[in-house]
Subunit: 334 residues, 2 copies
Amino acid sequence: MASDEDQAASFSAEQYFATQPPPPSLEADIVRVQEFVLRQRAAKRKVVLVTSGGTTVPLELNVVRFLDNFSAGTRGATSAEYFLKAGYAVIFMHRQFSLQPFSRHYSHSTHPFLDFLDVDAEYIEVKSAERPQLIEVLKAYKQVQKAGTLHSLTFVTVNDYLWLLRAISKELYPLGRNAMFYLAAAVSDFFLPRQKMSEHKIQSGKGSLHIEMDQVPKILKPLVEEWTREGYIVSFKLETDNALLIPKARAALARYGHQVVIGNELHTRKYQVVFVSPANGKPAQAENEEELDPSKFSETWLRIDLAVNPAKEIEEDIVAELVRRHQTWAADSS
Amino acid sequence: MASDEDQAASFSAEQYFATQPPPPSLEADIVRVQEFVLRQRAAKRKVVLVTSGGTTVPLELNVVRFLDNFSAGTRGATSAEYFLKAGYAVIFMHRQFSLQPFSRHYSHSTHPFLDFLDVDAEYIEVKSAERPQLIEVLKAYKQVQKAGTLHSLTFVTVNDYLWLLRAISKELYPLGRNAMFYLAAAVSDFFLPRQKMSEHKIQSGKGSLHIEMDQVPKILKPLVEEWTREGYIVSFKLETDNALLIPKARAALARYGHQVVIGNELHTRKYQVVFVSPANGKPAQAENEEELDPSKFSETWLRIDLAVNPAKEIEEDIVAELVRRHQTWAADSS
């Protein structure tokens, strides 16, 4: 754990939570998560926490400006649907206004539902071309509502995200190996401590803008070591430089000791990803990233051919692969 | 024009456009705007350009992180509907995925349309409680589509915004006093010149993040003085400190010489705004903001009482007031 990276971080997770205030809705949010988890345990369902969308870093207390991470929430919203289809209960913790399971098929920008409704006096009709897909989506949606297997809650800032992740992971603890963490949210690596924030809108007209931010604590560390000890943990690496994908995924596994890193490159992420995992149990920790032994890791590429099947979603294959691996993991618990 | 603010700005508008590349879709976007404006001129309609939503400032060429301005696009999307109702043709230039006229009533987060559809075998029905509003929204939407009075186009970055604003204002030039600019978008005051951007995702783990940004040129200046000479220009000031609202609005009018600044404070903007305008023609320019003569300006507050009428939208009154003022302005052209 003595890498340069960790030494440079100015906040440990513990220090972070000791100095940054919890979001006002945290307690109410967690009561609802508790109720949801109790019902799923009673039904003996596996539960996956899916995080989705980008987190913000507000620059002002009265927020006008913020740093954000690019993410529409497609990966998370789509995966949540496939987890539900596979029989999982899903806690869908997403960025406010990011895509959600089911409604994601009807983006107001690319597939607005007002366009496929006809109105004639007092009668509204769905255009026939749109009917089959809408019926399918609606049926799946109503079924999930009836079964009570989807619980959604939202975050905006990286601070909301960190507090929620910690609190929810503690609620999932009693599930042991039947819990999965699918951490698809695009979480900021940096934040502005509340103590350094400007109260009002930063005024322009004083020349250039200087921002200096601190590092967000590496949250996977306490998640793996303390908050959950048996949950199956899937993290994501998004890079724009393909050459960094596998080395960075391996380094994360060595550093945190979790189960899978799914690597994806910004421009190809809709049709190829790589699963990186320890070849046998946990890989040995190395003093620095260059010393990692490649034979301690296994890589599995998933690719789909959109030219052959343009409607195929790679999340279907990602989830199928994870359900298989999670099955093995849960059976190994003895 | 010799205020400290202007001296601190590192880019004039001219320098900006000479050094920052246009968005790839600019030409195609403008061809469609041209066609739209031609049709509206033939129909002798007034045209309003409504800008809406926040602009981003990408920190990387392959965008993962960006600075953003808080705005869901409510003001712009709502106002666009009322302008359409008042007989205007609307160019709705908005941030990708921000709220849009008509569909804004059915946010996937707060009023998801899947929730008010029932499905029974192959038959989809709208729940009766939702029918009256949906019929009303749909009728207004279909009527606008039929009349061809709404043209939407999108921006993401502040660079997209600046190039589009310049190009569209030139297309509106021939309309003379029949054009209005309703600049409700939350535009960044700062940007990162392309020449300073990092190609790939900024790597974390190297300690804190430092960002230094340049000032965006004050675009109202060339808009008022060069791109349009007779268009009716409405700009917005959003502040979190109420005491700054009127002084900053007055300063903007003195600096740019346009018609109205609508001031709004972050927490009260849904029910009160202030129109600030020159009392008689253009206010004299002062050497600095403190020297401005208050008698040269007039202020009109608009307030609505949401306790009395919770469904009332303040944009209805804002647009009604502007339509009146624009009418006078257009009649004055001789």
